[in-house]
Subunit: 242 residues, 2 copies
DNA sequence: CCCGCATCTCGTACGGCGTACGACTAGTAC
DNA sequence: GTACTAGTCGTACGCCGTACGAGATGCGGG
């Protein structure tokens, strides 16, 4: 029945009516509207007014679609250039990443992608380049970049887990009892004083942690941790003695 | 919510073929064997030789089961006591967390829990306590603890994403082309030299980053960042001048 | 002209998932 | 006995990703 009715319809031109980019766009739209849980192949297709299985011509599977979404969104927010000073450069890169995740909370559910896209490479390249003026070995520069990346990712994730609306996060029933019983006096001090919690939030927490890490990197830069191997770029020798 | 232990007026427990703990045990067993993707209520029930819906008497829903699993596993690996020296104390705590995630990779898929259980509270309490000898304000101690937590979480997650088997992670097709085209010379240097990558792996990366962060905290401790407010515990005044 | 052929769309179906609902059973209290 | 309750579980609903293959459309060559 449905077949006869469908066959009766006049010529629709399915020729190139759907493109890969449209699929990715629709997925991003859906993610922004309904979050990660609201994304499904059926919903994407419905949003496009298209059969579900039509998507699979343009995209191998859901996994690949998520890869494309990730690259699209991350690529939309990369720094064009960074200053020469490594400290402000790294801080800018870190803040850009923070902004990215803050603006797209669902990104954290998408991020566990084993395949690195172009934008990730660009980010790494940019970060390494930003450390050129440090006068450290390649290995040490990699360490600096990695520790910063890890910190930002972890910070964003922990924020994502505990929404940090000034109010301490929800506690399990057992945890509430133990807290009321006075088993955690130090934490109780925070929970009792909302201003303490609030002061840490409001993105102050991120900046403080960022400063701590940059200080730690600076220790490596100024102290004698540098190996005087050939890995150092000429003309960038430190002036401070070891 | 389960009606398990409430209204124990007629104090008897006659029907005890299945218990809450058994359900959690089975879930953990399944997670260890098949990973996060292999966990489902049906499988847990099957593993217990029990009807699927029987689980729901002891557990509200899948979400609560995951909460319990998380608390169980994390609780199994907490430090009993930590040394007085804040630096080694924090390092030990961080390494314990790393070990925890390394030993239970699926934990990272379970960790996004909005509800903090007892063990998380214990961890926070322990961390704050470990910073007692720093002579910093409460806020600064919280910053130190948070930045370390965030780093560990991010490090573990990024490792989870890119399995780090000495070999650089998989690249998307487009990324490979761009790399071959010489668009990322700095990264290419790493990819070309497997030893560089390898040297960073093998858990050396974690220790290096950890040292950087501890150095950064130490900067805050030794420099004049301390506010001489009443938040400082008596008898723990710093000796160094501000 | 028609005919293959590549390109693209999509209906149907399968096996999985979490869980709402309510029937059923067994043990206790009266 | 009857009444009640704690605990078990079969069935069903509405989701999900996607394998399969049939159908539609345009194009180049006979």
């Amino acid at each position: 029945m449905s077949h006869a009715e469908r066959a009766r319809r006049p010529a629709r031109a399915p020729r190139v009516s759907l493109t890969r980019d449209q699929v990715v766009d629709a997925a991003v739209r859906l993610l922004e509207r309904d979050g990660y849980a609201g994304l499904s192949m059926r919903r994407v297709a419905q949003d496009l007014g298209v059969g579900t299985m039509s998507l699979y011509w343009h995209v191998a599977d859901r996994e690949e679609l998520l890869d494309l979404v990730f690259d699209r969104v991350v690529g939309a927010q990369v720094l064009d250039e960074v200053p020469d000073d490594w400290r402000t450069a790294l801080a800018q890169i870190a803040r850009a990443a923070l902004r990215l995740y803050d603006g797209n909370p669902w990104l954290l559910d998408v991020v566990p992608r084993p395949t690195m896209g172009v934008v990730v490479l660009r980010h790494i390249e940019q970060s390494i380049a930003a450390t050129a003026s440090m006068g450290l070995s390649f290995d040490e520069r990699m360490t600096a970049v990695s520790v910063l990346d890890d910190y930002v990712l972890g910070h964003v994730l922990s924020r994502h887990i505990w929404p940090s609306t000034g109010v301490p996060p929800a506690l399990s029933e057992a945890a509430q009892q133990r807290l009321a019983a006075g088993d955690f006096p130090l934490y109780a001090a925070i929970a009792a004083d909302p201003s303490a919690h609030e002061s840490y939030e409001a993105s102050q927490g991120f900046e403080r942690g960022l400063a701590v890490i940059l200080d730690g990197i600076e220790v490596a830069v100024t102290s004698g941790k540098m190996k005087s191997g050939p890995a150092i770029r000429a003309g960038h020798r430190r002036r401070r003695h070891s």
